[in-house]
């Protein structure tokens, strides 16, 4: 009798099992014995890319995986020195007026679809960035290009409308990536570049698999297959490394977890710098923070080391303006807004606002919320009351804080390279307007390298003196890996995670 009531349930169960068993699914996890010589290298990363098209989807995840590895540009960034190095261009010359760039291209380069790379592709790729095909804002960097000429199959000439000291650097970012005209039909799923790797599998919700090409023009990479495994949860990534589920955590999201790996000779820890300035944004145009004295008071009320210790386990660097130490115009400015709560209180009194209540609308990311809580208590000590409101990042934060500038204080990490320029845009969500800063930024584009550095150092000082924002700390490049993995980058200063330098042994 019990059998009769079990029958329908069993039938459902059987049908479901059968259905599940029949489909191979598309979400296999890593195969192959880990540690074997030809085993794939498995790297744990955060934030899976929504698709593989960085021309129309912003965010760090896509170029991190594809730039340098799948796509190459004419030039690339040396991760150690920050210098611009040849890539698909063997050499280049710049005319004395800084307007004409002549690139000599490498020969024998092919795209992964078999097409040859020529000067026609340079023209196609650069003009495509200027067209409607590219919608991400970085494409603006190509606005300075007036014309691209195909001089010969291996000679390309780019003419700028005005001299630009930053253009060649921008060519090391995603906008410099070279595309083949017949290879841009399905960028979201099928990227085709000249790089040493191709995307062999994109298991959504799981991993991106890159396989080395056997017809790559340059030195083939040491690792044949790299699996970029995406983790939403920092603890899951830590556990995966501890249990040999992965070999590398490429971006440690829970720095306090490093304690578990320290002193264990199975693992190595790499600690360097990035471009990620964790910034306390202050509304320069509206509300109490439009008064520079209030902003300076806030900057001086904050003990930055305490913020770093709490929010990111003390890993990372303290910076005084929107410049990471890897930029040529880096300068320490310890005396501009030193930690001094008494002076901060005096400034508030001078501004006629001894007590204040501010809306603190932060991105709902762990580092931002943790930082906000420390800042909140430090501001309370000088009489500023804040209401922390975590906003879902990116969707709500982008809409409310970034687009509408509807905030008094906010916190988010700015990871774009050389983003000091944002202070020249009065519409940017800082809502900071300074004619002197704008002129200096414009001047930095022309002139010699020394003049560029001097102008940008001046900008760095001006925005710090104005307390146009406050820089809480610089996110560190934190990597934990099996001890035998070589070639991991000390610093992360470009958009790419360079896999070509990796090896084991």
């Amino acid at each position: 009798m019990p059998r009769s009531f079990l029958r329908p349930a069993a039938a459902v169960l059987a049908a479901a099992l059968l259905a599940a068993g029949c489909s191979a699914g598309s979400t296999a996890s890593s195969g192959g014995a880990p540690g074997a010589p030809d085993a794939p290298l498995r790297i744990g990363l955060t934030a899976e890319p929504a698709n593989l098209d960085f021309t129309r989807t912003d965010g760090a995840a896509i170029p991190e995986a594809l730039l340098v590895n799948v796509y190459e540009g004419l030039v690339q960034l040396n991760q150690q020195t920050g210098d611009i190095e040849p890539a698909l261009a063997e050499t280049w010359t710049v005319s004395p007026d800084g307007l004409v760039y002549d690139f000599t291209l490498r020969e024998g380069v092919t795209f992964s679809n078999g097409e040859a790379f020529t000067a026609d592709d340079v023209k196609f790729s650069i003009e495509r960035v200027q067209s409607d095909a590219w919608t991400v804002s970085l494409a603006d960097g190509m606005g300075v290009v007036a014309a691209v000429e195909v001089v010969s199959p291996t000679q390309a000439r780019v003419t700028l409308s005005q001299p630009s000291n930053s253009w060649l650097h921008r060519m090391t970012t995603r906008i410099g990536a070279m595309f083949d005209p017949s290879g841009v039909a399905d960028l979201a799923n099928t990227p085709i570049g000249t790089g040493p790797y191709t995307v062999s599998e994109f298991r959504r919700g799981d991993a991106l698999v890159l396989t080395a090409r056997d017809d790559y023009w340059g030195e083939p990479p040491a690792i044949d297959e790299v699996v970029l495994q995406y983790f939403d949860d920092a603890t899951a990534a830590t556990n995966a490394l501890l249990t040999d589920g992965i070999d590398v955590i490429g971006t440690v999201q829970a720095p306090e977890s490093l304690a578990r790996f320290e002193g264990d000779d199975r693992f190595q820890i790499i600690e360097g710098t990035t471009n990620g300035e964790v910034t306390l944004a202050m509304n320069n145009a509206f509300g109490p923070t439009s008064d520079p004295r209030v902003r300076r008071a806030i900057a001086m009320a904050i003990d930055h080391q305490a913020v770093l210790d709490t929010a990111w386990a003390g890993r990372g660097a303290l910076i005084d303006t929107m410049v990471p130490p890897t930029d040529p115009w880096y300068q320490p400015l310890p005396d501009v807004t030193p930690y001094d709560p008494a002076a901060a209180r005096a400034l508030l009194a001078e501004a006629g606002t001894p007590t204040l209540s501010l809306r603190f609308r932060v991105a709902n990311l762990p580092y931002a919320v943790a930082s906000a809580q420390v800042v909140q208590s430090q501001l309370a000590a000088i009489g500023i009351e804040t209401q922390i409101e975590p906003l879902e990042f990116p969707a709500r934060w982008l809409e409310e804080v970034f687009t509408n500038a509807d905030y008094d204080l906010s916190i988010v990490a700015h990871v774009e390279p050389r983003d000091i320029r944002t202070f020249g845009d009065p519409d940017y969500y800082w809502r900071y307007e300074s004619a002197e800063v704008q002129e200096l930024l414009a001047a930095s584009e022309t002139g010699t390298e020394e003049q560029q550095v001097a102008a940008l150092q001046r900008v760095g000082r001006l925005i710090a003196e104005d307390a146009a924002a406050d820089w809480l700390f610089l996110l560190p490049n934190l990597i934990v890996a099996d001890a035998d993995v070589r070639g991991l980058p000390q610093n992360r200063i470009g958009e790419a995670l360079d896999l070509t330098a990796l090896s084991r042994g």
Binding site: M1, T135, G245, A395, F402
Partner: protein, 320 residues
């Protein structure tokens, strides 16, 4: 007469089913439109210009009137066409099926664990409810009810994967590709889901069996000479099953939700991670698709529970 009643019932159920689905589709769509955050802006990220945002909206089709967007979406559903995600540029239907299979494995194995725990323990706790062993089981289930499945997951990983190294800490392999790896990866998430649900279920089984034990027909069965155990098996369990099946149906829905969380802990590419990624990217079509499939699943489960009632309880077959 009987056939007509059954037919009428079937028609009524189907109508309710269809209306529920239509209402659900409107509600789901409406929720998506009031969700703050513009998909185009999320795609373009920081520094996007208004022109680029407008162009992307047009490309996504999110600038069209809501009624047009709704009809466009809903008209494809009957034929299983969930549309194409404007964020991933992949057809949504096959993606949902892929992930649904993964989650189905999780939910069913979690349910199996729950039943394996709850049926024997629940019956035992009822039969021995005045003895220490019965009290012990009740205490165990009390504690189990209070533990959320994600915490159970984290604890299981810490002990069995990180400390002991017996099982992988997470990941997923389809059964067809490597059955051994599949099973080894399924064990911990199934336990995380199932143990907690099992604790809940144990309490229901216990009270259902206790109720039955007090019934007159059981006393009659025992007076006919059956041992208490045989009386319970032959006459009691079937009656105790009705409330348990009700709870089981409700629990399937809970398991689906629990799976969303457990998938995150164990890095399993199921429906839950698809849903979370979809919400984060404001991939509205995808989210709508996943939610409507979940609604459908819950409706189907309810339907099956109804069917199970009529099988279990002959009285329900006659009442219309």
């Amino acid at each position: 007469m009987g056939a007509l009643t059954v037919l009428l019932q079937l028609v009524r159920r189907t109508a309710v089913f269809a209306v529920s689905l239509v209402v659900a589709s409107v509600v789901v769509f409406a929720f998506m439109t009031v969700l703050p955050g513009d998909p185009a802006r999320v795609a373009l990220g920081i520094n996007a210009t208004e022109e680029a945002v407008a162009a992307t909206r047009a490309a996504f089709g999110t600038d069209r009137p809501l009624v047009v967007q709704y009809l466009d979406w809903v008209s494809g559903l009957p034929s299983g066409d969930f549309g194409r995600s404007y964020v991933t540029e992949v057809d949504i239907g096959p993606q949902i099926i892929d992930r649904l299979l993964v989650t189905t494995w999780l939910v069913l194995s979690g349910m199996a664990v729950a039943l394996l725990v709850a049926l024997p323990l629940g019956v035992l706790a009822a039969v021995r409810h005045r003895r220490p062993s019965g009290t012990l089981i009740s205490a165990f289930s009390q504690v189990g009810v209070a533990v959320p499945s994600f915490l159970a997951g984290i604890l299981l990983v810490t002990v069995f994967a990180v400390r002991l190294g017996w099982l992988p800490s997470g990941g997923w392999t389809p059964p067809a590709q490597d059955p051994v790896a599949f099973l080894s990866m399924l064990v911990l998430p199934a336990l995380a889901l199932g143990l907690v649900q099992g604790a809940v279920l144990t309490r229901y089984v216990r009270s259902a069996v206790l109720d039955v034990l007090r019934e007159d027909y059981l006393r009659t069965a025992r007076s006919k000479g059956l041992t208490p155990g045989r009386a319970l098996v032959r006459h009691g369990l079937r009656n105790a099953a009705v409330p348990v099946v009700t709870v089981l149906g409700l629990q399937l829905s809970t398991l689906l939700i629990g799976a969303v969380v457990v998938e995150r802990v164990f890095v399993i590419p199921g429906l839950g991670s698809l849903l979370l990624d979809g919400v984060a990217n404001r991939d509205l079509l995808l989210v709508q698709g996943v939610v409507i499939v979940l609604v459908l699943a819950v409706l189907v489960v309810n339907f099956l529970v109804d069917v199970a009632y009529t099988v279990l309880d002959p009285r329900l077959r006659r009442a219309a």
